[in-house]
Assembly symmetry: C2
Homo-oligomer: 414 residues x 2
């Protein structure tokens, strides 16, 4: 008997709090108990269908891992060419920090310039498959930009709600994508309420983080790609800048699924959560060995993607850290911006503040002796510096036509 190969090996959605199961082929938000739903797959069947030595023959897209993603029919894929981002050796930067094997996974090379595109391709594709025609997303900026963009690509209506101090660039992307976009004179928690009202009053699907089950699966593909790029050998450390934490949870979920499939010989990766000192609820919880975080009042950081005072997924981030033997740490804004400068000057990579914070966090853990200088460390740069133009100040001398540049003079006056 020939086993029929399925495009997805998803079996069910499982409540992260009470364990109750839900049908992944019907529209779902939260569990009745309020818990987030997490996709579970038939990893035995996936193992039969996938061959780790031949993944490179598949399509150049995170959808190459389709058995481990939630879509039934590939014709529903909504894509703008996301994923398959480079994993770059950072030799000069590593030397500067005193490390021998530092790599950066550059998620800035995604549509919309951040890793949020991965969540959007998974979430919008699945929404399309389920017949959803309009979505609402409360956002600090980049997730809203990604969902507005992918909704446009799908021909779907989107209602994006963001705090009024949200970043200008995301506003422009959201507007350009033709989204129904609103600012709220408050925080993301106020935006959440408005999105939920749209859901209640008009039946618009509320795709808020960890209320929508599939963006986690999209972000998981970062972990799948890192592992494939490292030839399925788990690195010693993976560091991720953490606001809501879905990226970190996703990467760890990827490694666990691959480990369960027997694709990883020695699972040794310690996950590292790096937060901004101005908003570090998960780091605080980790230091106290708590299972959940407390609301962080008056949060503030230049890395606005990390300004999440209380994440619905905090316990999953903490669980990933405890179970992998990893760490949480935090770095202040000055250190973030200083590190951002070093990364770009040493390696050209135009990092975002969030990604830069993760490099700074690694440096801190190195100094504390929690990471060894010989270890293989992967840091995720979650977005492009192009999305944060205000973090660079320029000052260039103005020449007149015919002027000559005197290099020695310039050097000596520096």
């Amino acid at each position: 008997m020939v086993m029929e190969k399925k495009y997805t090996e998803i079996e069910r959605l499982e409540c992260s709090l009470c364990g109750k199961s839900y049908d992944p082929f019907k529209i779902q938000n939260l569990c009745q108990c309020g818990g987030s739903l997490v996709a579970r797959y038939d990893l035995e069947d996936a193992k039969e269908s996938m061959d780790k030595r031949n993944m490179s023959k598949r399509v150049l897209s995170p959808w190459r891992y389709h058995e481990l993603l939630p879509l039934k029919d590939p014709s529903n894929i909504v894509t703008l060419g996301e994923g398959m981002t480079p994993l770059l050796q950072m030799k000069r930067l590593g030397e500067k920090l005193g490390m021998k094997d530092l790599m950066i996974k550059d998620e800035g090379m995604n549509p919309t310039g951040t890793f949020k595109a991965r969540g959007a391709t998974a979430g919008v594709s699945k929404a399309k498959e389920l017949g959803i025609e309009s979505v609402t997303v409360p956002t600090n900026g980049n997730a809203g930009a990604a969902w507005a963009t992918y909704a446009a690509r799908a021909g779907m209506e989107s209602y994006i709600i963001m705090p009024k101090n949200g970043p200008e660039m995301a506003r422009k992307e959201i507007t350009a994508a033709g989204s129904h976009a609103y600012l709220v004179d408050g925080r993301i928690t106020d935006a959440n309420v408005i999105s939920e009202q749209l859901h209640q009053d008009y039946g618009i699907f509320n795709a808020a983080t960890l209320r929508e089950p599939y963006r986690l699966e999209g972000k998981k593909t970062m972990g799948l790609e890192i592992m494939e790029q490292l030839n399925w050998e788990s690195p010693d450390v993976i560091a991720f800048p953490t606001g809501g934490g879905v990226g970190l949870i996703g990467i760890y979920k990827a490694i666990q699924e691959l480990d369960e499939m027997g694709w990883i010989d020695e699972m040794k990766t310690r996950m590292v959560c790096v937060q901004a000192a101005g908003c570090a609820p998960i780091t605080e919880a980790w230091e106290k060995k708590e299972k959940k975080s407390m609301m962080w009042d008056e949060s503030d950081t230049v890395a606005f993607g990390m300004n999440v005072p209380k994440s619905k997924g905090d316990f999953m981030v903490l669980d990933s850290l405890y179970s992998s033997g990893g760490y949480a740490t935090s770095v202040d804004d000055d250190e973030i911006l200083r590190t951002k400068q070093i990364i770009t000057k040493e390696e050209g990579l135009f990092a975002c503040p969030e990604g830069s914070s993760a490099v700074a966090g690694i440096k801190k853990l190195l100094d504390q002796g929690l990471i060894d200088r010989n270890e293989k460390v992967v840091v995720v740069n979650t977005g492009s510096g192009l999305k944060y133009p205000n973090t660079v100040q320029t000052s260039m001398p103005l020449l007149q036509p015919g002027d000559e540049i005197q290099i020695e003079l310039e050097e000596s006056t520096e």
Copy 2:
């Protein structure tokens, strides 16, 4: 006897004006006669080493086409994960324009957000191989950003000279990369003079367009990728927004080399050059069937990458158009910005003004009957909309916490 496989099959640099040959393993700029030098390869040997059915097994980088690139030793590659950009079907946009098979090659998904990264990876890698330690680039913005970035990645000094009205985002990238950067109170022609002075006075390598032989080879990889993505079947039309025109020249060079290698069954691609109405010297020359363009005085366009009043490579662009049976056209700034809006609303793709002009140009040629609605048309979007934030105006309603959105009301007042 086993033939030794070479990493590059480059044989010589050939003057585009007088045909004189130069050694590609020594530092070269222009021919003695002032002509640009163009790389020529042993395509017979390349054909032996490469297998078009197995290219997908190679590295995920434009360096997969290394036989057709100028580098002798892969250890000199300076990369940030450029290239391998998506070729996206534009079904909804195509329908809107009345076309059945429109695709966009999205070059916005490169490091530095434009196709200039391809020129920089080729040029900086080759400069490194030749022992060059400092480069100067006169630029309107994006090329300078790419060269500054790749020079930083290589640990090379860079001196970037740009007109003072150059784009803010490129200035930020150039500054962040630690370049020695100068503004000039004039045009790119004035910047050229200053770069050449730096070369004369300090021996800094002048990597100006078509004075440096290899950025053309990097840009050629767009054509190689398009052909591979189309399974080596040449599309009916490829449209490219044209300032200096090196992108268009490069794509056509790629197709010609592949054709010479026998990889293309039926070579039928007509090349299309689209310029801004405010700076259209090549289109004017094409309309008059001239071999070269005239200086375009008082050039002005929102698509600053296309603001090149007189390109050193004009005759090569025109030759590509005549020899492929293609066309040149121009579109005004209003049409460019209107098309940019349509592309992003219909497909999510956050295009740049230059790429949008190429879509607008295709629409014009369609209306003129020069392109048929059933033809396969590839348009290159040369950069990300993130680099042009000023081309999007935002206006979002501001809500107070607890406010409710009334959708019917909103729709009826629209």
